[in-house]
């Protein structure tokens, strides 16, 4: 997935504000040498939200299968 910097960081900003992710700090990347990176991790609220979103998508998929809109082994 290709994300532009603006889209990426405005998404990160929204997720931080919603407390779905949190920053765990800065550190230097071993591979990239001295350039510093910021790291984020999923919070428990974020995990809950991601799970419910995935569940919603799974339900949608089940309906699509039941209605025979989607056949075969796409997922």
């Amino acid at each position: 997935m290709r994300l532009g910097p603006g889209t990426l960081y405005s998404s990160i900003q929204s997720l931080v504000e919603e407390k779905f992710i949190e920053e765990v700090g800065w550190r230097e990347d071993a591979e990239l040498g001295r350039e510093r990176r910021r790291y984020y991790r999923l919070t428990s609220a974020g995990r809950r939200e991601a799970r419910s979103e995935a569940k919603r998508l799974a339900d949608l998929l089940r309906v699509a299968r039941a209605k025979k809109i989607l056949v075969g082994d796409y997922v």
Binding site: G4, P5, G6, L8, Y9, E17, E35
Partner: protein, 456 residues
């Protein structure tokens, strides 16, 4: 080059976003620019970036929340004003300047408006109650107009050396002509001139402070606290002694409307009479009202005079009411009149039953002039218990003489005998017998009178 363009484009994002993620966004751009070399990859990168900007900038602004950042504004020239500003960006210098100019304009407009309203209110006061000072040439109205809203504006009126000298010369001429003691008048005149020549008056740059300074000099030279040099922001009437008939009519009308300032006449529990009187109006107009009020309270067991809002008035009314409180004529000290036959109360008042009843007077720091005479004389004669605060301390004993449109001088022309003490209430006020806050004076007096009546 292309990085510079991207940095420039990044500035379009909200400052809060840039502060938090600007470096990272640039880092991400660098990462991709490093990986995607060559004409087509670079073109693809830029198309991506422009698409990204188009999508994410509106989004960033839509999610914008005010993130306060503090910035202190520079102090203004006189060091009085210092601001802390909260905003999403530190204010620009031009904005601060613009804001400063706008504030000054508003402040200026407001003070002009205040001055206008102040002078208007002053005018109303003189038309409503013209009799108080004009009729008898006393200077209480002048003082009132001096102490009102316009104070701040008055100080702005500039007085130069020539004007100062003119005021002093006219004051001296009046003193020599009217002051009771010619020797003392000469002494005061000499002192005023010496102070002026020594340049001691140069500090007084406006009417109010010049008047205060000259008053102090006159009092120091004469030890007469009734001497007063006064300044009025409003032009003084040409002939203060004789009120115009239309002013008298207005006064009469105002007195009728306000029940001659007899605000409340009541009989409290335990048969205690209560009279709230807010001035001592002219007996020629309000005599019948006063007599009716006293008649209504004729059979009480004790009487409370509430003078907490009383700013004074006519000595004749003070004496008229006081007469009810004695069963024989008492010497009634009036700092405005030479001692004479009229200096005795007109007691006993026929049919009056108050001569042997306890009297309480409620006072406040606003109680002034004629009301202070009532307090002072009753206290000195040990006829009343004063409850409340020390009074204002203005005798208004001098007769007012106009110097010019804005200055006047109050000169005592009489030397009444004060049998009670060397000084009256000028300056120091009348101290209460029971000192309490004016607001609780009524309650305190009520419990005092209740105790006293229950002991009988």
């Amino acid at each position: 080059m292309s990085e510079k363009i991207y940095v420039w484009l990044l500035r379009v994002y909200p400052s809060g976003f840039l502060a938090a993620y600007g470096d990272e966004a640039l880092q991400l751009y660098r990462d991709r620019a490093r990986d995607e070399r060559g004409f087509f990859p670079r073109l693809g990168l830029w198309l991506d970036l422009l698409g990204d900007l188009a999508v994410s900038i509106p989004r960033a602004y839509r999610h914008l929340r005010p993130e306060p950042c503090a910035a202190s504004a520079p102090r203004l020239s006189n060091g009085m004003l210092s601001l802390r500003l909260l905003g999403s960006q530190p204010p620009r210098l031009a904005a601060l300047f613009g804001g400063g100019v706008l504030s000054l304009v508003i402040l200026g407009a407001f003070s002009i408006l205040l001055g206008y309203v102040g002078s208007d209110a002053g005018g109303m006061a003189t038309t409503e109650l013209p009799g108080f000072s004009q009729q008898h040439g006393r200077h209480s109205r002048l003082q009132d107009s001096n102490s009102g809203l316009g104070d701040g504006m008055e100080r702005a009126v500039h007085v130069d050396g020539i004007e100062r000298r003119r005021v002093i010369d006219r004051a001296i001429a009046n003193l020599k002509h009217y002051y009771i003691d010619k020797d003392v008048a000469n002494k005061i005149a000499e002192a005023l001139l010496v102070h002026e020549e020594n340049g001691e008056d140069d500090t007084a740059k406006d009417g109010g402070s010049l008047a205060a300074l000259l008053t102090r000099q006159m009092r120091d030279a004469s030890h007469d606290v009734h001497l007063d040099l006064l300044y009025s922001r409003l032009p003084l009437p040409e002939n203060a002694r004789r009120p115009a008939p239309e002013h008298l009519a207005l006064y009469r009308e105002a007195m009728q409307r306000e029940n001659c300032t007899f605000e409340k006449i009541d009989v409290l529990p335990h048969n205690v009479g209560y009279l709230k009187l807010n001035s001592f109006p002219d007996p020629a107009i309000c005599g019948p009202t006063a007599i009716a009020a006293m008649a209504r309270l004729n059979h009480v067991d004790a009487i409370l005079f509430d003078l907490r809002d009383n700013r004074g008035g006519e000595p004749a009314m003070v004496a008229l009411i006081a007469a009810y409180l004695f069963d024989h004529p008492e010497y009634w000290y009036n700092p405005r009149e030479n001692s004479s036959r009229q200096s005795w109360t007109n007691s006993p008042v026929s049919g009056a039953g108050l001569a042997d009843k306890p009297v309480y007077v409620l006072t406040s720091a606003r109680t002034a002039s004629g009301a202070e005479q009532f307090c002072y004389d009753l206290k000195m004669l040990k006829r009343a218990t004063l409850v409340g605060e020390t009074t204002a301390g203005v005798a208004h004993a001098g007769v007012f003489h106009r110097i010019d449109d804005h200055f006047g001088i109050a000169i005592p022309e009489t030397r009444p005998i004060n049998p009670f003490a060397r000084s009256d209430w000028e300056g120091g006020g009348v101290a209460p017998d029971v000192k309490v806050n004016a607001l609780s004076a009524l309650k305190t007096a009520e419990s005092l009178v209740e105790n006293r009546l229950s002991k009988k």
